[in-house]
């Protein structure tokens, strides 16, 4: 009987007004909070690894202290060469942080450009653009990256440029559907009747007010994908090579000791990868439901 309990807040009638700001539901708060926590520790790790202010130097080897339990001195314990795992994880963010941002910038800017062009001038131009996008889209991303590795022996930056290029079609489709919906809304016509220049209508109403939410959501998801790509590549051995730490190759190195029962060597980086990707996805999800919720109410 006590399953559904509804209580009304006491409020005196005069000053009651519909709250203008929208209180996010519990689920949104949780996902955005967790997402922001993940983004925060990514920035902190990156900042530490740039300024190189480590407590334990991730590179130096202590033969004596191999496979130590997580202790106060080594937060996550030490690996098979006695190097401190925590500081290696901190240094590992350096591998994908800036390349990730690079790939997001590429995919977002070109996606936005192509999205608006195909949205507004549907005839021949958009058909050509869509042809090229389909070409890029139909090659599986990892195989394309393998080909590039064979051809150019690239650094992680060039790989991320191509990763960015391959996710341009996704953003373009997002933006184009948004433009398609907004185009036949009245307020575009109203802007024109008011005397706004077409350029300012597109920039202000479509890009800034409506498409901004889509781009932010894509940025968080894009960063998650960048983490996934970098770690998979360094697991396969093409990304960051052994002495320098990357979450991917830490997991790869840990596998050898996996079947000897020492699980945590590759579990810790895997868990860090998991929380990062999940955090970024939840952030995108929460922002998505908040932005759409405000319009649909």
């Amino acid at each position: 009987m006590k399953r559904f309990y509804y209580e009304e807040e006491q409020v005196d009638v005069e000053e009651f007004h519909v709250p203008i700001y929208r209180r996010a539901s519990v689920r949104d708060v949780v996902s955005i909070g967790f997402g922001l926590f993940v983004v925060a520790y990514l920035f902190i790790f990156y900042f530490i690894s740039i300024t190189n202010t480590f407590i334990q130097n991730p590179m130096d080897v202590h033969i004596g202290q191999m496979f130590q339990r997580p202790s106060f001195e080594h937060l996550f314990g030490t690996d098979f060469l006695g190097r401190d795992i925590f500081s290696r994880i901190v240094k590992g963010t350096e591998a994908f942080f800036v390349p990730g941002l690079l790939s997001i910038v590429i995919s977002t800017s070109f996606g936005l450009l192509f999205g608006i062009v195909t949205g507004f001038y549907p005839k021949i131009l958009s058909r050509i653009i869509f042809y090229f996008l389909n070409v890029i889209d139909s090659i599986p991303r990892l195989i394309l990256i393998l080909i590039i590795i064979v051809l150019f022996r690239p650094s992680i930056y060039l790989i991320m440029v191509f990763a960015g290029i391959t996710s341009i079609p996704k953003v373009t489709v997002y933006i184009q559907s948004k433009v398609e919906i907004l185009k036949n809304q009245r307020f575009i016509e109203a802007g024109k009747a008011l005397g706004l220049s077409p350029g300012s209508i597109i920039l202000k109403h479509i890009v800034w007010l409506s498409a901004k939410s889509v781009l932010i959501i894509h940025a968080t998801l894009g960063m998650g994908e960048a983490v996934l790509i970098e770690t998979s590549l360094s697991y396969l051995g093409f990304g960051v090579q052994e002495p320098d730490p990357s979450w991917g190759n830490m997991v790869a190195m840990g596998i050898d000791f996996f079947f000897q029962g020492r699980l945590w060597l590759s579990t810790i980086p895997a868990v860090v990868i998991l929380t990062t990707i999940m955090g970024l996805y939840l952030l995108g999800d929460g922002l998505n439901s908040i932005y759409n919720e405000k319009v649909s109410r």
């Binding site: 519909v18 203008i20 009245r186 109203a190 009747a193 005397g195 319009v295």
Partner: protein, 312 residues
């Protein structure tokens, strides 16, 4: 004689406007050879069933869509001739109120930003003066101050319609085209908005083109009424004449819609209304109706009708 509008100094005039849309492989005549003019301080009612092209006329006058032929005169400038860029400063003088106000604003904007955007377009002013101007306009359309910070997505239908009028007021237009402003609202709010429109007309002396298919409201508010049927204006007269002594059979039918309706079959050519016209049947299908398209002739002082047997 072919009815001529007679150019006059301060009026927004559309002459012989024709516009074709190409849909599903055939050409739809949204409006052909329509001429209409709005005068300052006067309201012109445009009545017709849905799909008769009255909304297209509104958009043509504002040059939101370009007419296939015919021109639009505003203070002896031929609007249809000048380029998109030159017309932009002129757009200040003629504004539009939309039927579905919900989609007439970007739902993500706040009310204050919506009004500021239109003010700042034509006048430079400091923030404080801008805020006073906006609050003055908001109170004129009796919206509460609290809504200023509210998001447009959260407003109700009535409030949105008032905001639409407020936005038009911010730049003091000379002519206002109201495209079915009252249809989606409730009766009591319809009354309030109609009253507001009349007030605006008095104080700002704006000319209003009131497009609607609700005959009662059009008769209440407008000075002259034009009736449109399938893209052609078939009757135009001052309000008393058109309610008292309608000339065109379609207008008579519109005024008491319960009258029986019949459909003789589909024959192209000649008068557009002949397939549903009881006069056409009563007079045993006179040939003149099916050959010659009747012109809008002046049968009485200021009362124009497009029918060979007007008034019988």
């Amino acid at each position: 004689m072919k009815e001529s509008e007679g150019t006059c100094a301060d009026c927004l005039q559309g002459l012989n406007l024709t516009k074709y849309f190409y849909g599903k492989g055939r050409r739809i005549e949204a409006c052909n050879d329509v001429s209409i003019s709005i005068f300052r301080k006067k309201t012109v009612g445009l009545v017709g069933e849905s799909g008769c092209g009255k909304t297209t006329v509104g958009r043509l006058l504002l040059r939101l869509i370009n007419a296939d032929s015919g021109e639009i005169l505003y203070k002896d400038i031929n609007l249809s001739a000048i380029s998109e860029k030159d017309i932009r400063p002129l757009r200040k003088n003629f504004q539009m109120i939309f039927q579905d106000s919900k989609s007439a604003f970007n739902p993500r904007m706040r009310v204050f930003d919506a009004l500021r955007e239109s003010i700042r377009l034509y006048e430079e002013m400091k923030a404080r003066e801008l805020r006073d101007r906006v609050t003055a306009i908001i109170s004129r359309v009796n919206l509460s101050r609290g809504t200023l910070q509210n998001f447009i997505g959260n407003l109700s239908g009535g409030e949105l319609k008032r905001l639409d009028i407020a936005r038009a007021l911010t730049i003091h237009p000379e002519y206002l085209i109201a495209d079915e402003p009252l249809t989606l609202l409730d009766i009591s709010i319809q009354g309030q908005i109609a009253q507001l429109l009349m007030e605006v007309q008095e104080t700002e002396s704006t000319g209003i083109l009131f497009i609607s298919h609700d005959l009662r409201m059009v008769e209440m508010l407008s000075d002259t009424v034009a009736v449109m049927y399938r893209g052609k204006i078939i009757e135009r007269a001052p309000k008393k004449d058109i309610t008292g002594r309608p000339l065109h059979p379609y207008t008579r039918h519109l005024w008491n819609p319960r009258s029986s309706l019949f459909f003789i079959g589909f024959r192209e050519g000649g008068c557009v209304y002949k397939n549903r016209c009881f006069l056409f049947q009563k007079k045993e299908f006179p040939p003149i109706c099916s050959e010659k398209q009747p012109d809008l002739l002046e049968h009485r002082k200021g009362h124009y009708a497009a029918c060979h047997f007007a008034g019988e």
